[in-house]
Amino acid sequence: MKGFKRNGERLGPFLLENAVSMIMIAFMLFMVVRKPSFIRWENIANIINEFAVYGITACAMTTAIICAEFDLSASSVFAWSTVLCCMLCNRFGFAPAVVLTLLCGALFGALNGVLVALVRMPAFVATLGTMTAIKGLAYVVTDAQPINTTNETLKALGQFEVLGIGSAPMVFLAVLLVFAYFLKKTRFGRAIYATGGNYEVARLSGINVKFSKFIIFVLLGSCAALSGIMYTSRILAGWAPYGSDLSLYCVAATVIGGTSLAGGSGGVHRTVIGVLLMAIMFNALTMLGVDGSMQKFIRGLVLITVIMLDAFANKRQRS
Amino acid sequence: MLDMDIVKNITVTKLDAVSRGAFLRRRKEAFVADEYVKKLDIRTPSIHQVLSNLSGGNQQKVVLAKWLFSEADILILDEPTRGIDVGAKYEIYCLINRLTEQGKAVIMISSELPEVLGMSDRILVMHEGRIKGELTGIDKTAERVMQLAID
């Protein structure tokens, strides 16, 4: 944007693009005034611990969205991973459980990848199918009952804390850095941006578009599994209904963060902002004593508003 | 609309003309499509052929047919012969000439200089959204066009 501070005219688009961030900041200031305990370290640590689990998958989802696809089955893979992790921990111990769960997540991701990249199925339908099937699998294997585990190593992972910040945020940070590096600095990352921007042009330019589309789903599956493992480490249980809102949460975080659904632009660093803002907002709502169904209402409204704003901002930029 | 057939693509601009009340009359549509296929010499095994299976030239003819059917008095054609083989190009030029003979006005937007010079009664040269000049009669030469364009 050239010289937007100079021209009063350019202020408009700037406002739109950053409207969400500004609203959030205003909201946060309001919260600090209203409930000072909001800004206490305990609460902040709480927020960070909470969003880190879902945030891991959000990084992968952002990558998928940059490549112009998304994945509905992340929720089911998450749930399945919590179940599998507990079952394997009870049977075989920590290390095999983690390795196998991650592998399983990657495999499910590969299945999605094959459907979307090779069979060229629309991602929506393919992941809808896999989501339904994997959710069913999770229910069938557990007979809809939660599975508990008492594995000491897993427990230690979950309880691990430094200054109130648990292991999940650290894993999240690591994953975030890996993705950031991967997307911005490697050939493969660049290929993903290109494929998302314009599939045909990327293909004709010699980029292996099929591989790009394939690998993002594998990444998503693995990250969903990783999220599941981190979740289980805190809850020490696995149950089929867990994580049912994961997929849409990740998509929302990505969009709030400013990555466009059209693909080809954005980055994980932006998604962190999205994740952060959503976590702060919901924490704030809970602190203000807003009840369950109202929170749901606000969540839906925010999602709609954000995507409308995002679309407007993009339109301005395009023209 | 590449995955729809010729009939549907032609009648879209004036669906009222092929319907009775709220309902479409398939036979009337087919009749209209037949008419235009003959008039414009669109090469296709059947009027129900899907558009994506036609060659570029024939696809363009279908688009032209669509707007002819709308019976508009002014037609705006944006790059009407881009990417089309020479034979089809010629046929489209003849069609455009026939239209103007019938009294219709045609605004043709094109970046092919020979095409512009050969077809137009008046040439408007534009640059960055502004009209740089108008050429008629003996002024219609390649040199004058380029002069105005680069000015």
Binding site: L115, V251, M294 | -
Partner: protein, 326 residues
């Protein structure tokens, strides 16, 4: 050359109806194993239970042909049930109560359509807007009762009857036939196909895309609320989560029925068949002692298989046509 063409035609037929054939086979097998399955009574029962999802699927078909999905229908089903029962409990005339519910569904549909048209949304944005709407409407449905069932004080009358007997089936069939005629034979239906096929070309051909898109969602919303009314008329109590998951079932019915997910082509009758077939299959699996959770797995694989076959079919047809290219 002739043999080649015939084999392709056969393959085409098999693929575009492949899923249906498989399920029909399954049904016949189940009928052989359990004689009670293929009785009139059982089948009517199944039809009645699936009529509700079927009606929602009809509305969804319009959206899909028009190029996008409406994920909010599940919540609209729940919400309209709540509205209807609450109105009746408050003493409102039962026809008026139904009208209120339908109006609410219409409102949601118009909201969806307007928002999406406003941003000229393609399927990705439409998807998220309708998902956000789903959450919003779901919270509205939960709001009055805080998640509990509300028993309805409904006396004998119209409201009670439309959920029983042959009414749901009749209504479903009538709606499906009416919608199909509109789709195939009217200008409105033709424009729907154009918009789904290529929104930009449609706009440039003189079709007013924005109002039409709003109407697709409006129709979907009204049908969903009508389905919700039917649903709670049977049990005369409102369940605020009655419609959870309906949108997925509706999409499954459309996809299995053979309507293409790319939009621009399709048929309500196919969706009708898809819905019925999925319903009967569910019943068959129940009889074969396969639990609901197993059925989920099957449903998921079904959706994938159906779309894969449709894609394969398209590729074969494209290759065949390429031979006849002029």
């Amino acid at each position: 050359m002739r043999k080649y063409i015939n084999r392709d035609a056969l393959l085409n037929l098999m693929l575009s109806n492949g899923i249906l054939l498989v399920i029909v086979a399954l049904i016949l097998v189940t009928g052989a194993i359990e004689p009670n399955f293929l009785t009139w009574r059982n089948l009517v029962n199944v039809l009645r239970q699936n009529a509700v999802v079927g009606i929602v699927a009809c509305g969804m078909t319009y959206c899909i042909i028009g190029g996008a999905y409406d994920l909010s229908v599940g919540s609209v089903v729940s919400m309209s049930g709540v509205i209807a029962i609450l109105s009746i409990n408050a003493g409102v005339n039962e026809f008026l109560a139904i009208a209120y519910a339908l109006l609410a569904g219409l409102g949601v549909g118009i909201a969806n359509g307007s928002l999406i048209s406003l941003i000229n949304g393609r399927s990705g944005e439409a998807f998220i807007v309708t998902y956000g709407m789903q959450v919003v409407v779901a919270s509205i449905a939960l709001f009055p009762s805080n998640g509990l069932f509300i028993a309805g004080r409904v006396s004998e009358g119209f409201f009670k009857t439309i959920g029983r007997g042959y009414w749901p089936i009749g209504l479903f069939l009538a709606i499906a036939v009416a919608l199909e005629i509109i789709l195939q034979r009217t200008r409105f239906g033709r424009k729907m196909c154009f918009i789904g096929s290529n929104m930009d070309a449609a706009k440039m051909s003189g079709i007013r895309v924005k109002p039409h898109r709003v109407s697709f969602y409006a129709i979907s919303g009204v049908l969903a609320s009508f389905a919700g009314v039917l649903l709670c008329s049977r049990v005369t109590s409102s369940n605020p989560t009655a419609g959870v998951g309906f949108e997925m079932d509706a999409i499954a019915a459309v996809v299995v029925g053979g309507t293409s997910t790319n939009g621009g082509r399709g048929s309500i009758i196919r969706t009708l068949i898809g819905a019925i077939v999925i319903g009967v299959m569910g019943n068959a699996l129940n009889i074969l002692d396969i639990t609901a959770y197993h059925q989920q797995i099957v449903k998921g694989m079904l959706i994938i298989a159906a779309v894969a076959m449709d894609l394969w079919n398209k590729r074969i047809r494209a290759r065949r046509m390429a031979h006849e290219r002029v």
